[in-house]
């Protein structure tokens, strides 16, 4: 058998960090919520919804609802970031539309290598998922020093996606 990879975290560590993070989120009036099922530890996830607006080239403003979900990625052994957006009629945005509203702060070329649409391992519906390939190394580097694993993880995500997080997290 392969040796256990020391870059990964366990589901229990994830759930512990998620609970701790929710307390901080409440304290800073951020609106993350935790969804958990004691029998299915792998199905624990944290979620936040917010409105985001986008001004197009004709100065027309479009309003979207964004849903962010952080879940435990079993195959990589790290937290994973996923999201969906929809317009005022409830219609989900396509990958191309997500790119156009520049919610992601990366170049067009890098976009597709970082974000992909996939069937969500926890929600069982298509979501945009940020590829977790570099997460493991960085998360493990801060594993024992970081105040909270989720915050460290969000620090990796915020350069890519506009999340409007409270400054108090210290990112």
């Amino acid at each position: 058998m392969r040796r256990m990879n020391c870059n990964t975290i366990t589901p229990e560590e994830f759930v512990y960090a998620a609970r701790d993070f929710i307390e901080l989120s409440n304290k800073y009036f951020d609106s993350w919520t935790i969804h958990q099922n004691d029998n299915e530890i792998l199905n624990t996830y944290i979620k936040k919804e917010e409105f985001v607006s986008h001004r197009d080239e004709n100065d027309k403003i479009f309003l979207y609802r964004a849903e962010y979900i952080i879940f435990y990625n079993l195959s990589y052994g790290v937290p994973s970031f996923s999201f969906n957006l929809w317009d005022c009629s409830g219609k989900l945005l396509t990958l191309e539309q997500v790119r156009e509203i520049s919610l992601m702060k990366i170049s067009k070329e890098d976009f597709y290598s970082v974000v992909t649409q996939q069937e969500h391992p926890v929600m069982y519906r298509p979501y945009f998922i940020i590829h977790p390939c570099h997460t493991a190394k960085i998360v493990s580097a801060f594993r024992y020093t970081s105040r909270n694993l989720i915050i460290t993880f969000l620090g990796l995500i915020t350069p890519l996606i506009q999340l409007n997080l409270p400054l108090e997290y210290g990112l």
Binding site: S53, L63, R65, C88, G90, S113, Q117, P126, H131
Partner: protein
């Protein structure tokens, strides 16, 4: 004091924008299908809006809107609404919208007149949704209304100002704290009353008397009273709820006429502070009562800015057929996004595949095509599904064998749709004419028809798979495919060996130099090029491609998969059917131009399960090939049906035409003479 410009200071209320979350449509659909069915009765639902200063002016509905009791959320006001879901698009279109909003308005007016709102202020606000759900397409037409009386018109005495102009920091904090203590049903409309140095947050029932006679004085101390409401607006203008609040207040106390009233629009930040709240000083007009027959307004404008319905096209996230389609496409796209950025995803979707033979090979090939994102698959087979088939022919089930068995090509096409409903698959049932199988007079018409059907089918498709169980049956499609320049992939099985190859096409034969490292795709040999005997002659002992060949169970799966991979490799090469086949694929210094996006593409793959060996022979067209040579294709072009009939009726006609008969003797001689050399070669592999 500045002069008042009447026009400018008419209050412009900030309307609500409806915002529907996907879960609203899920719940509505569920309700319609399982509870309401054809019942068109209106339904009470809940919406909510926020008076947070960082949340835009929307009224949201979602899956919980249908709950018996509304969900509560910080800094949100729940609003009761009415949903009228029509059964037909005509009813939705034809219903009189002005009359509809007036009838809703009349109910609201009655509520105002019986003054029940004084005890239950949230009930003043209302919304209405008219909808039609096309549940076949998952299209939802809907139109929100936020009813309010069009009269009276009210003006501001002066520009609105921030709450800090009238209250100090400490007072604001106190107000915010006591506001939070109000019951949820009292939070939409309330009052702030000054008592000495103190400001008290009070419910409306504290200052308005429900049982007061209309002629009595209302006794509201206007200098010390602020009316207040939860204000969703984020700009200078007050939010829509104020409009209905004022109408109700004026109805309650006509003696407010010509006074100035002070109203606070409560706007809070996410930590609950209300420092961004606004104060509006309002000049109450002389005639303040809403006339009995006044019209009600409030239909929402759509995205084009017109008064008209909106459409939610939810098919991509709700239609299971579409979900299956996009989700299976994701597999291919992931490959592109993650590993092969130059992969052409659309070419698989657009390429039409014709599978000749819906047996073990045909079933495996079809499934692998589906997996690679192909969506056009046609089967040709004249056989029926028998009880021995389903375990090996992976598209069939026991059910297909019953009652004499379904036609294979039709069952295969239907079962493919069970796997992915959006696949365009069909089955054609006919027999493919074979050389050396004489056609009697009775079968002549049918044979002619079958030739035409096959020709049309080949012309209609981009790729032809030869997955037949006899060598003879491959001849006619090889010829026609080469003639029309189609990509042809051929697979044949032995007991524990297989051959998978691609064919060249009809084009002028080029002389290739001895030193060339590759053969251009169009110049590649066909299945028959390596043979020195024409089909129809079954005397020679063959290991491959014999009717009734029994194969090891994995052979068809391996060969089928390789056949599809060979096709995909070819399609992903910019030269497609002309994609070169290199002699030595393992050459590390292989010219990148000879490779496709997925690597170099062999001409043929021969595998032997016994020794677990694979070899990749490459050869050019054989000048005297009985299927793809210029002479044969030329004769087919010139004589057409007559030529074909001659071939079918005579086992040796093709050999005569191509001069193979003469060659054969020589060939056999050569074979014998070189035997010892070949033996040595084989052992040195």
């Amino acid at each position: 004091m500045t002069t008042i410009d009447d026009k400018q200071d008419i209050i412009q209320y900030v309307p609500f924008m409806s915002f529907v979350h996907p879960s609203f449509w899920h719940s509505l659909t569920d309700m319609k299908l399982n509870v309401d069915k054809l019942n068109e009765n209106t339904k009470q639902i809940y919406g909510r809006y926020s008076y947070r200063d960082d949340i835009i002016s929307v009224l949201e509905v979602d899956g919980t809107s249908f709950n018996k009791d509304p969900e509560t959320e910080f800094h949100y006001i729940n609003v009761t609404g009415t949903l009228m879901n029509k059964n037909t698009i005509e009813d939705f279109k034809n219903i009189d919208k002005a009359a509809l909003i007036n009838s809703v308005g009349e109910i609201m007016r009655a509520n105002i007149q019986i003054k029940s709102w004084i005890d239950n202020p949230n009930s003043l606000l209302n919304f209405f949704v008219l909808s039609f759900a096309d549940l076949k397409k998952f299209h939802y037409y809907y139109w929100f209304a936020f009813p309010a009386p069009s009269q009276p018109v009210v003006c501001l005495k002066e520009k609105c100002k921030n709450i800090s102009t009238c209250f100090n920091e400490k007072q604001i904090k106190e107000i915010s704290q006591s506001y939070q203590l109000l019951e949820i049903s009292q939070k939409c409309f309330f009052a702030i009353v000054k008592d000495g140095d103190l400001y008290n947050v009070v419910t409306l029932s504290k200052i308005l008397d429900k049982n007061r006679n209309k002629d009595e004085e209302s006794n509201i101390d206007l200098t010390n009273t602020f009316f207040a409401f939860a204000d969703h607006s984020n700009c200078e203008n007050p939010g829509w709820p104020l409009r209905i609040f004022l109408a109700a207040l004026f109805e309650y106390c006509p003696d407010l006429s010509k006074t100035i009233i002070k109203v606070i629009g409560i706007r809070c930040s996410k930590n609950g502070a209300i420092n961004n709240s606004q104060i509006y000083n309002i000049t109450v007009p002389e005639t303040i009562q809403t006339p009995q027959n006044v019209g009600w307004v409030g239909w929402e404008r759509n995205e084009r800015g017109n008064f008209g319905p909106k459409l939610a096209n939810m098919s991509s996230s709700m239609d299971p057929v579409k979900l299956a389609d996009t989700s299976s496409d994701l597999n291919i796209k992931l490959m592109k996004w993650r590993l092969v950025p130059d992969l052409d995803v659309t070419i698989m979707k657009e390429t039409k595949c014709l599978l000749l033979g819906a047996g073990t090979l045909g079933c495996h090939v079809a499934r692998d095509l589906l997996a690679w994102g192909f969506r056009h698959i046609t089967f040709i087979d004249s056989g029926k599904v028998s009880y021995s088939n389903p375990t090996r022919q992976v598209l069939y089930t026991y059910q297909d064998c019953l009652n004499g068995g379904r036609r294979k090509s039709e069952a295969a096409a239907d079962n493919l749709k069970l796997i992915l409903p959006t696949v365009q698959s069909k089955g054609l049932v006919f027999h493919i004419p074979m050389p050396g199988h004489p056609i009697g007079e009775s079968l002549k018409d049918e044979t002619v028809t079958n030739i035409e059907l096959l020709t049309e089918a080949i012309k209609d498709h981009d790729v032809i798979f030869l997955l037949l169980d006899t060598r003879e049956a491959r001849w006619l499609p090889t010829l026609i495919s080469a003639h029309y320049g189609k990509i042809t992939i051929n697979a044949a099985l032995g007991f524990d060996s297989y051959l998978v190859m691609r064919h060249g096409i009809s084009s002028a034969q080029e002389e290739t130099s001895i030193n060339s490292t590759f053969v251009s795709g169009d110049q590649l040999g066909c299945y028959f090029c390596n043979d020195v005997t024409a089909p129809g002659n079954s005397l020679k002992d063959r290991t491959l491609d014999q009717q009734c060949t029994v194969s090891r169970a994995g052979v068809a799966a391996i060969a089928g998969a390789l056949a599809v991979e060979l096709l995909v490799g070819t399609l992903q090469h910019p030269l497609r059917v002309k994609a070169p086949a290199v002699y030595n694929l393992t050459d590390e210094e292989l010219d990148p131009k000879l490779q496709g996006v997925l690597g170099p593409i062999p001409h043929s793959i021969r595998g032997f399960l016994h020794s677990h060996q694979t070899v990749l022979p490459t050869c050019t067209k054989f000048k005297q090939c009985i299927a793809c040579s210029e002479v044969v294709i030329g004769k087919y072009k010139e004589e057409g049906l007559d030529f074909l009939m001659n071939v079918f009726n005579s086992g040796t006609y093709l050999e005569d035409v191509t001069g193979l008969s003469e060659l054969q003797l020589t060939a056999e001689m050569t074979e014998i003479l070189t035997l010892s050399d070949e033996d040595q070669d084989t052992t040195s592999i």
